[in-house]
């Protein structure tokens, strides 16, 4: 690596970063300067482009005792979701809707799980209940979803929602032909965990709806324009000037926008952010 000797008298951070071991202690002494040094050069600490998300891997059907399960690895963030099915009676106000219960567990004792849990509960409540109906007014399905955060390296929202969606995709829902009603009670005709034949056709028959989210951090570039940092990592998220999450519902392509920050967004910024979110939805719909 060439070192420009005329810079020795100059204590510019970029010069110091040219030395191989310097990046670790700069990161611990002044994390903000470390991250800004990359952003100023239009790149990120892990070498991604601004519009590039981390490598996402999804593994489904890992747990034998759950109706559906999935493990999502997005960069270093790892989240697992497991869905189990209960059958019960719907509420009289909504006889055609089922129910979803989401619990989020995290190894971090500081309790960031509350906010994530209420957000996930709302995302799933707005999407799924209609598809959980069995017999209008008499029987419906409740999905008990457990989300376990195994490692938090930034952007838990996207990873957790993807894990829930992949577990939902993996779940085969019981239909009325697998159930029979006698004396006002519902009974399984055969054990739903071991019967495979009915469940395969069920999976292809029902059109499932999904929601895919994309979280972006916001930066102000030197020219004053707003820049979007897709899928911020834990170090980056501390120093962005805002966080924008766009949730795309598939197949209807409607959007939910959640934004807080100190930078104002105009119509052009929203259009760009939507384009990024739709791109991510296309990328992930091949997995789901």
């Amino acid at each position: 690596m060439e070192i420009d000797e005329s810079n020795y008298g100059d204590y510019d951070l970029k010069t110091w970063l040219n030395f191989p071991q310097s990046s670790n202690w700069i990161q611990s002494l002044d994390p903000k300067a470390y991250v800004l040094a990359f952003w100023d050069q239009n790149t990120r600490p892990d070498g991604r482009m601004f519009s590039q998300a981390r490598t996402t891997k999804v593994v489904t059907s890992l747990l034998k005792h759950s109706a559906g399960s999935a493990l999502v690895k997005q960069g270093e963030t790892k989240v697992m979701a497991a869905i189990s099915i209960e059958i019960g009676q719907p509420t009289p106000e909504l006889p055609d809707h089922g129910d979803i219960m989401v619990t989020v567990t995290t190894p971090d004792p500081r309790g960031r799980a509350d906010r994530l849990q209420s957000w996930l509960q709302r995302m799933l409540d707005e999407l799924l209940p209609r598809s959980l109906n069995l017999m209008s007014g008499k029987a419906c399905i409740r999905l008990v979803t457990s989300v376990m955060i195994l490692q938090d390296s930034g952007n838990l929202m996207d990873a957790a929602l993807l894990a829930c969606m992949a577990a939902w995709d993996d779940t085969s829902l019981p239909t009325m032909d697998q159930l029979q009603e006698t004396q006002g009670k519902l009974w399984w005709k055969e054990n739903p965990m071991t019967s495979v034949v009915g469940s395969n056709s069920e999976k292809t028959a029902r059109e499932k709806e999904y929601r895919v989210s994309l979280t972006m951090g916001l930066l102000k570039s030197k020219s004053g324009k707003v820049q979007f940092l897709v899928d911020p990592s834990l170090e980056e998220a501390k120093f962005t000037e805002g966080q924008l999450t766009i949730v795309v519902s598939l197949p209807s392509r409607t959007l939910q926008v959640e934004y807080t920050g100190s930078l104002g967004l105009d119509a052009a910024d929203m259009a760009l952010a939507t384009k990024l979110a739709n791109g991510r939805a296309d990328e992930l719909s091949s997995i789901l």
Binding site: T254, L255, G261, A267
Partner: protein
Amino acid sequence: MVNRTDGRNEGSLRPLSCELSCLYRADGSALWKSGATHVLAAVYGPIAPQNMAKEEEECIVSVLIKSGQSDQIISEYKSFLTKILKACIDTAKFPRTVVEVVLQGIQSDGSVLSCLLHAAVAALIDAGVDLLYLPVATTCLLIQKQQHQQQENDSSSLGVEILLDPVASEEGADDSNSEIVLVTDCSQPTKILGSYTLGAGVSLDHFLSCQQVSAQASPAIPAFWRLAIEQKVTREMQTLWSK
């Protein structure tokens, strides 16, 4: 023209009322009424945090919401408001302190999140906390139009109706409605500083239409804050400083 339950237009806000300094113990307080939604806000601070280990380089903003609504939605409102208020308060000016904002929902009849924010800002102004800008929230309810109505009504080709500042009965009318709360800076109403969406979701065009509706309606709120402050100052001049 739309028939709303209270006879308003699609783009008109409900009548506002604001009473400042209604609580004696708090540094700043406001009773904000927007139609039948009443919110009481109290601001304590900037004060030293109870636990010295929790001091940070910038002021910590803590928001507490007490309301009859479900815990789930309250925790989301709390997180949203904390971020919005943290961005608008000049936190760098008050290191190692806490500004605590306590919001009490007294009566709720729709557009609760906007009222919570406006009450909080009014209380912050009353307390004299330095703000970088004034955030204004607008709530838009998007209703899917019926197919035959869409053909008759040629003024808008969007397929949805946008109702500003909805009441509870309008919000709860149909599952397929969406509600968007947009927060803007009163000096730059066309740029969004915050957004919160409830419901099935909207297309980008509808979202941008809501942004335009919000830009038109938002100047009313700062004008009202100014009115409330002027009333408070004249009242204080008469009672405290009269000879």
